[in-house]
């Protein structure tokens, strides 16, 4: 730095290369983080999915267990596991029940709030949104307590009406009981998204419709819903993705009932394998398959809806 004749060319060189270097410098942190915390772990999980643990002898003592190459055997085991296939079927049914109900309610509430002359609008909006702010584990505990007849507040009320509380944890009803927690927690958020989208519809459209003599219902059906279709698609896709990953609710409810087994949902099965059965290799293989299915599903959902809603725009 003391020799000005050396500083000068260096400065010149830097100005020349700066435009080429700058983008790389800027993008480096993101790339490094992406590689470190996404690509490497995925790569490691992929590696683990082709490994297995092999013991010799009784399997006790040092060096009795080694990690060896397993080929596709982990994948084959999990794919042919009856518990996994039934959990897969269960999660699809869960999604089919939950998503339409939740989005239907969210849309209904959004339309009601958007209609004119609704009293207590701000309060209602907050009240509907509030369950979303309750962590799912706490929500599940809360509902779990309400579902168990002996600690639930409902049986005494029902008894006054001459009714008894049904068992909410039978094999088939349990799915609805879990879905109910999802609807309760998720409706508010989707309602806000749809409502925000409704607010951005130009007011002239409604004016024109009213001049043409359209009723509120007609406006809702013919103008509002088509105008917010992109938002509906978006919330729909995200909801499907999220419901297929359901974990917190059933995992929290599982100790309360015989019906919800440790492998009740696909992600519970992953957890079960990794932590209960101490088989991280099988868990990695299962995770890979779930990741691929999720990727294909969400990609095709988005493509199909893009074509239909946005007309390829």
């Amino acid at each position: 730095m003391t020799n000005p004749s050396r500083v000068r060319p260096a400065w010149g060189a830097r100005t020349r290369t700066a435009p080429r270097l700058a983008p790389y410098v800027c993008v480096t942190p993101a790339v490094v983080l992406f590689v470190l915390f996404l690509l490497l772990p995925i790569g490691y999980a992929l590696f683990m999915s082709f490994q297995k643990s092999q013991v010799s002898g009784l399997g006790l003592g040092a060096g009795a267990r080694r990690q060896v190459f397993a080929g596709l055997s982990n994948y084959a085991t999990e794919l042919t596991d009856a518990a996994f296939t039934s959990s897969l079927l269960r999660v699809v049914i869960y999604s089919v029940i939950l998503v339409p109900v939740m989005l239907g309610l969210a849309l209904l509430f959004a339309l009601l709030l958007d209609a004119r002359r609704v009293r207590l609008q701000r309060f209602s909006r907050l009240a509907i949104f509030l369950p979303y702010a309750v962590p799912t584990v706490i929500a599940s505990l809360l509902w779990g307590f309400m579902y168990l007849p002996t600690v639930s507040p409902f049986p005494p009320v029902l008894a006054r009406l001459g009714l008894t509380m049904p068992n909410l944890f039978t094999t088939h009803v349990a799915l609805l009981s879990v879905a109910n927690i999802g609807v309760w927690g998720g409706t508010g958020f989707n309602m806000i998204v749809l409502y925000t989208s409704l607010r951005s519809v130009p007011a002239e459209l409604y004016e024109a419709a009213r001049i043409d003599g359209a009723s509120q219902t007609q406006i809702a059906l013919r103008i509002k819903i088509p105008m917010i279709a992109p938002a509906l698609v978006l919330t729909g896709v995200f909801s499907v993705i999220a419901t297929l990953q359901v974990f917190n609710e059933p995992q929290t409810l599982a100790p309360l009932t015989n019906t919800i087994s440790p492998d009740w949902m696909p992600l519970m099965r992953v957890y079960d394998l990794a932590f209960n059965d101490n088989d991280v290799y099988g868990a990695a293989a299962l995770s890979m398959m779930i990741a691929v299915v999720m990727f294909i599903l969400s990609y095709s959902l988005l493509r199909v809806s893009n074509r239909r809603v946005f007309q390829g725009r």
Partner: protein, 460 residues
Amino acid sequence: MKLIPHGHRAPASSPRGRRRRPHPVSITGAVAGAALAALVAAGCSSSSSTPASGGSSSASSSGKVTLTFWTWVPNMDKIVAIWNKAHPGIQVQVQSQSGGDAELTKLLTAAKAGNPPDLAQVEYQVLPTLVSNNYLADISKYDAGLKGDFPAGNWNQVTLGTSALYGVPQDAAPMALFYRADEFKRYGLTVPATWAQFAADAAKLHSEAPGVYLGTFSSADPGEFAGLTQQAGAQWWSASGSNWTVGIDDAASQKVASYWQSLVAGGGVDNQPQWTAAWDKGMNDGKYIAWVSDIWAPSDFPTTAPGGAGKWVMTQLPQWTSGSGVVGNWGGSSTAVMAASKNQQAAAQFAAWLNTAPAATAALVSQGGIYPADSAAESAITSPPAYFSNEPDFWTLGKQYAAEAAKVTWGPDVNVAYTEFTTAFGSAAASKGSFLSPLAQIQSTVLNDMKKSGFTVAAS
């Protein structure tokens, strides 16, 4: 959920619920979300939820050693304080766990990640699992001299019948029957000495008071069922040479399964899992008037049924043959040193102190509410637990049951068997169907799991 929480329940809000928020409205993209799942599955993310879990100990410049210790014995920090005061050079730091099952899950993951504590409370039935993964240190060169302090049965569980030593026995866990003396009187039931009488009581109770039960068959408690089968003579695992034999579906286990199936079907025994809020309420308000449990139950009763002090009474587990005097084991644990610990000698020294020093075992009894395995400590306890102050001979009975406990060998994948138990018996209990098919299901799952890992294994 599965492995026995040694009577100390894993709260439903245990760490396993704490994860990403898979809400129906999550804005996480599919790929990122699935990748996260993969991450978790691969165990890359440190699963330890204890903020201070620095893993292995660290020796500071002054030569002071700090050991981390995972345990779920209540008030262990107070017991450890006695040691810390006397041993300024070896400081032990207690990291409290919610229960046996939750701790095992964390321990397996932390050990795989190379970041376990120095010491851990380990239930006897999972010792082989940890040993077979090479996660436990052989402390025979430090603590082998303690052999004479413990009953042979307990010592055999921590050596796995080898010359190595994988832990110091902490508590013995013989099973016992607890019943509500006042309710038994009210319904005119006799305190059952045999399982036949227990079944007769269940039938009588059901006809007199449907909705009141002699306890419940809990699919959440494989260890309880395993203990009952031990009493009947079952050996779920046995080893000879380099071969394992699995006898989960043997005649003794089938006898026990059929017995409980008929009780559940008859309505005298409930089919709901234990350790839930509903179960607590039932234990407290007289819906459940008997509990097949264990010597450690006094540490659970005050929270489970606070209103029942002085009403619950412990008696011997009903027998298959009148007057035979055999009971099973449910839980029970040891203090083990992890292989990854850098201070195994100090840790082994602490483990020995905790379970044999009179000051420590006395505190374990009075503060931790556990029944010590150490023979000398066992004789030293006299006054009954506060909850059972109506039963002055409580510990005399305890000593008798401990001597009657069946010998047991645990296999290297008890965790797999126990998880499968929850699944298989969960649906069987819910439907009040056959209890024999879940037993066969557990047997085949365990056999497959062991074969997959390369064990030489056969069915008995």
